[in-house]
Point group: C2
Chain length 183, copies 2
Amino acid sequence: MDIWKRFGEKEVSHSMAHYLQAVAALKSDKGHARVVDIADHLGVSKSGVTSMLRSLQSRGLVTHERYGAVELTPSGQRLASRTESNRRVLTMFLSEILGVPEAVASEDACMIEHLVSPEVSIELLRLTTFVRSKHPVAAQFRDAYKASPRSCAEHAPGACELCGETCLHESLVCEPKDGGAEV
Amino acid sequence: MDIWKRFGEKEVSHSMAHYLQAVAALKSDKGHARVVDIADHLGVSKSGVTSMLRSLQSRGLVTHERYGAVELTPSGQRLASRTESNRRVLTMFLSEILGVPEAVASEDACMIEHLVSPEVSIELLRLTTFVRSKHPVAAQFRDAYKASPRSCAEHAPGACELCGETCLHESLVCEPKDGGAEV
DNA sequence: GAACTGTGTTGAGGCAGGTTAACAATCCTG
DNA sequence: CAGGATTGTTAACCTGCCTCAACACAGTTC
């Protein structure tokens, strides 16, 4: 059972995804993406950019000749825009449907944008669209959900279908850290 | 703007999360977690385990003396069970609410289980519980959602609120790969 | 056209997380 | 208790992704 090892075999790593997005963003903002722009945009060194570009080029995601322009290949472009869309869908879902704070939504979206599969993204978009829609059931749903219980403790006793023997909610809640005399 | 760099500064990495989960699982299955068990469980070499244990120990997540037993510390235990709960919540949400195939749900859950913040997990559990519940609105919702449009193309023309200038759905869909003469 | 400034590349090095090979410790059994 | 099998550690090495320092190229400016 080693699904977990496929983490390292993803099409692109977290870093790569952000390099591709940076190139796409710079292209559309300034019309071109130079090494120094990418470096500034991502907050890494120019040499880091150079070596990452080599790596991206070897995967056929960008083109880049010495001292020359950086361009996304079609697959690079596709990956960049898919990642970007994933981020938007995730952020929207997390903040508007789940209702977590903007900052949390953005951060979580950034962490997982390159990891969710297309199937999940598509369904997430569909769910988000539907819940936000004018459909009468969607409106009812939003109200009823707002009023729904916040923890297993508030469920009918012993009726927590999701949790097995132990309450999932409890292990999700952040206990105070060890030395924590936080206010 | 470099949220993206915090990826590497997470409490634990993907690998670490799985080592912790492995230790927890072995402890509860066999009563003990030895190096070789962890190695088998995760499909890595024993030496890899030894060095990862050193790293986890330095972070205060496990205890392990030479040739001795491996134990989770309280923080290690907490992290392991939070990750495990995240996985369960995510899998449930992805497969039952979004309706993606089991295999996809499991894989995606595994990829992101250690990355989602507690706030998101908690709300995800709440949403999942509510949608699955006997609440009359939940039942209506499930039906209406099942019938909801699958793509922007089916939305009222030009009324795709989520997508900005370009349709998100289009960029999420997997186009056929370059050389693809797949059946 | 020499000098200065900005841009890009190379090289050496660090840390994480894996590998294999060799060896050390422990345990099991005749 | 000797030998062999199992278990655990170390050492050397690899890749990914980053850093800094040094150098190469390009574009002003005088």
